[in-house]
């Protein structure tokens, strides 16, 4: 999956490429901070980091409109940020505050922002696939050219809803793009041990839909594949499956002393293909990183993260009696 000439020269304006770099960097810095604050006891429950896979969420969402809808997984920060979620309300949710996206009821595994078409992180593996397929049906019935995107892992691709939904979407030509983030591990179990074939994309043919395998750490490769699939969906061509080969640079969760059976050599090798470094090097080579360069961008991003933390810290916790609220809508 070395970079093809084609993906080295995308027809994307430099500003757009810089935006993509910034979005990936925001995800990276947001999660580094979330992890630190989790270990410091300021964030509770569990935190799953997307670090190393940023090119997938950003490359795909760059092909979407705000009105398009996506659904995420237990590893959801990257998808939220890529779709345009507010960092303050995200961080406040992790901090369990009343100003968070879910008023402190959801936490890391349940951040959602329906206003920007982010239909939620989801703690159930494959839990989001049927939800977003329903959003795809809604988009088809709305007849506004809307598209729905399902992000899910290699592990999720072995669960029943993957099959049921791809078949329905294919039969009804729903405008859904199924994006498998194949980071080659499901918690402590390797994809090699649970998939008969290395490529999840090979399953697409059984439903008569396109299946593409792309380098998930090459944001332009991801973006181009996403553009093709989104175009097809918008124009009534039906669903597609895109498999992004990528890798989780950290353990399954940020909990201390967690087992990580992965070969350190494998982990290091993938860190060498870091999607952010890759794009930064390219922009530099293209002379598009701007005079101030990467460091300036990074400082600006760190500022936004600091602001989000400050917002969260300054926000009140919910009142105990609010535990009884939001049960049923009026």
């Amino acid at each position: 999956m070395s970079l093809s000439a084609q993906t080295l020269s995308p027809n994307l304006p430099p500003e757009k490429q810089l935006e993509m770099l910034r979005a990936m960097l925001v995800i990276r810095r947001f999660e580094e901070r979330a992890s630190a604050d989790y270990l410091a006891g300021k964030i509770f429950g569990v935190v799953h980091c997307y670090i190393g896979e940023e090119a997938v969420a950003v490359g795909v969402c760059a092909a979407l409109r705000t009105s398009d809808r996506i659904v995420s997984t237990h590893r959801g920060h990257g998808h939220c940020i890529a779709k345009g979620a507010d960092l303050n309300r995200m961080m406040a949710e992790l901090y369990g505050r009343a100003t968070g996206y879910c008023k402190g009821k959801g936490g890391s595994m349940h951040i959602a922002d329906f206003a920007i078409g982010m239909l939620g992180a989801n703690g159930i593996v494959a839990g989001g696939i049927s939800i977003i397929t329903g959003a795809g049906l809604a988009a088809q019935m709305e007849k506004q050219g809307g598209v729905a995107v399902s992000f899910f892992g290699d592990g999720a691709s072995n669960a029943g809803p993957f099959h049921e939904c791809l078949n329905i979407a294919a039969s009804w030509k729903l405008p859904v793009v199924y994006v498998c983030e194949n980071n080659q591990w499901a918690a402590q179990t390797s994809a090699a041990a649970t998939h008969a074939l290395a490529d999840v994309a090979a399953r697409a043919a059984g439903y008569g839909i396109p299946g593409a395998v792309v380098d998930g750490n090459d944001i332009f490769a991801v973006h181009q594949a996403a553009n093709r699939a989104v175009e097809r969906a918008r124009s009534g061509g039906g669903p597609s499956l895109i498999e992004c080969k990528t890798y989780r640079q950290r353990a399954h969760t940020e909990r201390r002393g967690q087992p990580d059976p992965r070969d350190p050599v494998e982990v290091e090798a993938w860190k060498g293909k870091d999607p952010i470094a890759l794009l930064a090097r390219r922009l530099e080579a293209q002379g598009d990183l701007g005079a101030a360069g990467f460091e300036a961008l990074d400082r600006e991003v760190m500022g936004a993260i600091e602001a989000a933390v400050a917002f969260a810290e300054a926000s009140p916790f919910p009142r105990p009696d609010q535990a009884a609220e939001d049960m049923f809508a009026p």
Binding site: G106, A112, S130, A135, A148, M327
Partner: protein
């Protein structure tokens, strides 16, 4: 007044609401012919046998501004979709801080009596009652099912309509005029003074027959039909028991950790009701077994008017009587 069957009344409720609101659409593995005929394949969707997908798709469509109806048909078939029910539909509004609404109607036929054996004769609504976050009802008459379905379809939350297999063909008066029945309101189907019988669906009719029978002996039974399971109308049940001092609960489901146990608990845990209770509450339920096929066995498993009468006689024996 005009008479319709329980099933006709249900279909009429769906059709009326679908005419009123274009955002409503319907998914099931086999479409209901009259609905399909009137609304066509776009709004009445014949689906693959993939209830898990349908149940989850309804959540996504509802979160996107539509008002889906998913007809699981036999409740049995919703267990393949239990993740979407338990982990998604029942929690998504609360877990996301109430940021959007999920107006969804799920329909499920329950109960036995037709020798369809263990997998196709189930009454598992209590499992859903135990789960926080879903509204649900189980009507006993054509009038009630139409009125409750209309309310449910207009509700902005996931609601499950449990519908009795035994009652599908049963006729009853249904006015031509528009009406709706609020969720959470029990209906006293017969007034009485000596004993309260809280019954569901088909057993409401068995209880009414039992009451007729006992009236001849001068025993006056009050029949309370909760109709809605969540929210349950505890006030009406407690008021009735406070009046009669005796409680029998009749349910086609097994007793364990079920609707009948809940009714016994809400009656006895209430100080005012407990103080007036003259005898132990009595659960008249199915045997706690899967439903067998052979008619002799099936009949043995289900409660009926005869067992309701025996239950009433037992509680009328009162505190002093032989152990239950």
């Amino acid at each position: 007044m005009r008479e319709l069957t329980y099933n006709e009344a249900a279909v009429e409720a769906v059709a009326e609401e679908m005419r009123r609101d274009p955002r409503i659409f319907y998914m099931s593995t086999d479409p209901i012919p009259p609905l399909f005929k009137e609304f066509g394949p776009e709004r009445i969707r014949a689906t693959p046998i993939a209830e898990a997908a349908l149940t989850g798709m309804a959540i996504g469509a509802a979160g996107s501004g539509f008002r889906p109806i998913v007809d699981w048909r036999q409740v049995t078939f919703c267990f393949v979709a239990m993740d979407q029910i338990v982990n998604q539909a029942s929690k998504i509004h609360y877990m996301f801080g109430g940021q959007v609404t999920f107006p969804i109607l799920y329909r499920a036929a329950v109960g036995g009596g037709t020798q369809l054996a263990a997998q196709h004769s189930q009454s598992p609504y209590s499992m859903f009652m135990n789960l926080a976050g879903l509204k649900m009802f189980l009507p006993s008459t054509p009038y009630d099912i139409k009125g409750l379905l209309k309310t449910a379809i207009r509700d902005n939350n996931p609601v499950i309509s449990f519908e009795s297999n035994r009652l599908m063909g049963r006729r009853g008066p249904v006015p031509e005029e528009e009406y709706a029945i609020p969720l959470g309101l029990a209906d006293v189907k017969r007034e009485g003074n000596d004993v309260t019988v809280v019954a569901l669906a088909w057993l409401v009719h068995e209880a009414l027959a039992a009451a007729e029978e006992l009236a001849k002996e001068g025993i006056s039974a009050e029949i309370v039909d909760p109709r809605t399971l969540v929210p349950l109308d505890a006030a009406t049940i407690r008021a009735s028991v406070q009046k009669t001092g005796r409680l029998v609960i009749a349910d086609e489901a097994g007793p364990t950790a079920g609707f009948a146990a809940e009714v016994a608990a809400i009656a006895t845990e209430d100080q005012a009701t407990f103080a007036r209770l003259q005898a132990p509450p009595k659960r008249v339920c199915a045997l706690q077994v899967p439903i067998p096929y052979s008619p002799i066995l099936e009949k043995e498993v289900f409660p009926d008017r005869t067992r309701i009468i025996a239950g009433i006689r037992e509680v009328l024996g009162g505190r002093g009587s032989a152990a239950a």
